[in-house]
C-alpha cells in the first residue's frame, strides 16, 4: 500500500466528505487548531525562555518545565487532533504539496526536541549550561516557527 492510497482513503472517507461539504466545519476546526497552537507556543516560549536564562528566573528550570508540562500536552493534543481533521478533509491536496511534507518533517523534529529537553528539565536529570541552554532554546523556537511558516505555505504550493 503506497502513500497515495492512504491519502486517497482519508480524502474519500466519510469524515473527509463531511468536513469538506460543510460551510463552517473547516473554519471552525481551524479556530480550534489556533487555540491549540496558542497554548503550545505559549508553553514552548515559557520553557525555552527559562532554558535560555530569561523570564521565570526565580524558579528553577525544573519547576517551570514541570508546571508547564500539562499545558504542553494540552496544546499538542488539541493542535494535532484538529490538524488531523483538517488533513483528512484535504488529504489529496496535501499529497501534492511539498510544504505539507516539510511541515510534517519539521513537526516530528520539533516534537522530539521539545519533549527530549522539557522532560529532562522537568525531572531535573540534566542541568544545561547557559550557552547550551540558549542554543537549544533558539533551535527549538526556530523549529516551531519553521512548522508555522511551512504550514502557511501549504496554501500556496
Amino acid at each position: 500500500m503506497d502513500l497515495l492510497t492512504v491519502f486517497t482513503w482519508f480524502d474519500k472517507s466519510w469524515l473527509g466528505e463531511l468536513i469538506r461539504n460543510s460551510t463552517w466545519a473547516f473554519a471552525a476546526i481551524e479556530v480550534v487548531h489556533l487555540f491549540g497552537l496558542t497554548v503550545l507556543l505559549g508553553t514552548v516560549t515559557v520553557v525555552n525562555l527559562r532554558l535560555a536564562g530569561f523570564g521565570l528566573r526565580q524558579q528553577s528550570a525544573a519547576e517551570v518545565a514541570h508546571d508547564a508540562m500539562p499545558w504542553t500536552y494540552v496544546g499538542i493534543v488539541v493542535t494535532m487532533a484538529s490538524g488531523f481533521l483538517l488533513f483528512v478533509s484535504e488529504a489529496l491536496k496535501c499529497y501534492d504539496s511539498p510544504p505539507f511534507f516539510l511541515k510534517m518533517g519539521l513537526l516530528a523534529l520539533s516534537l522530539m526536541v521539545t519533549f527530549a529537553i522539557q522532560r529532562r528539565m522537568a525531572n531535573g536529570s540534566v542541568e544545561f549550561s547557559l550557552v547550551v541552554g540558549r542554543l537549544l532554546a533558539t533551535l527549538t523556537i526556530a523549529l516551531w516557527f519553521g512548522v508555522g511558516l511551512a504550514g502557511r505555505a501549504i496554501a500556496f504550493f
Binding site: 460551510t23 473554519a27 521565570l56
Partner: protein
Amino acid sequence: MSLFEICQFIQDSKIGTDIRESIWVFPIIETVHVLGVAISVGLIMFLDLKLTGLGMRRIPAAHLMHRLKPWYMLGFGLMMISGALLFWSEAAKLYESFTFRMKVLFLVLAGLNALIFEILYTPRIASFETQGTPGGATVVGWCSLGFWAAVIGFGRWTAYGLS
C-alpha cells in the same frame, strides 16, 4: 471624510496596494501575526491559568506577571505591527466585515480587562501567595481567557471572509 472613506483611502494607498497584491509579503506578515498572537496570548494565558486556579501551582502570580511582561509585550508588538500592516492592505474590506468589528470589540474588552487588573490587583499581586487570589482577580482571569479566545476566533473567521 467618513470612517469608511478613510479606510478606503488607506487601502488604496501605495503601501496598502503593494502588500495586498504581493505574492509573498501578505502571507508572511500573516504568519508573523499568528505567531505574535500565539506568543503574547500564550504567555498571558499562564497568568490567567494561575488566577483561575487551573494551573501553574508552584509559580507565584507576581512572577508570572512581572517576569514574563517584557516577552508578552514583545509578542504584542509583533502582533500589533503585523496586524496594522494587514489592516492597511484591506482597510475598506475590514470596515464592512462584521467578524472584524467583533474582533476589535473583544480586543477592546481584553484591554479594559487588563486595565482593571492593572489598577485593582497589580499593586497587591505579591500578597496573592499568602492571602490567596481575590475573587475579583479570578473573574479577570476567566474574562481574559474568554476575550482572547474570542479575538482569535473572530480573527480567523475574518481571514476567511465569512462575514
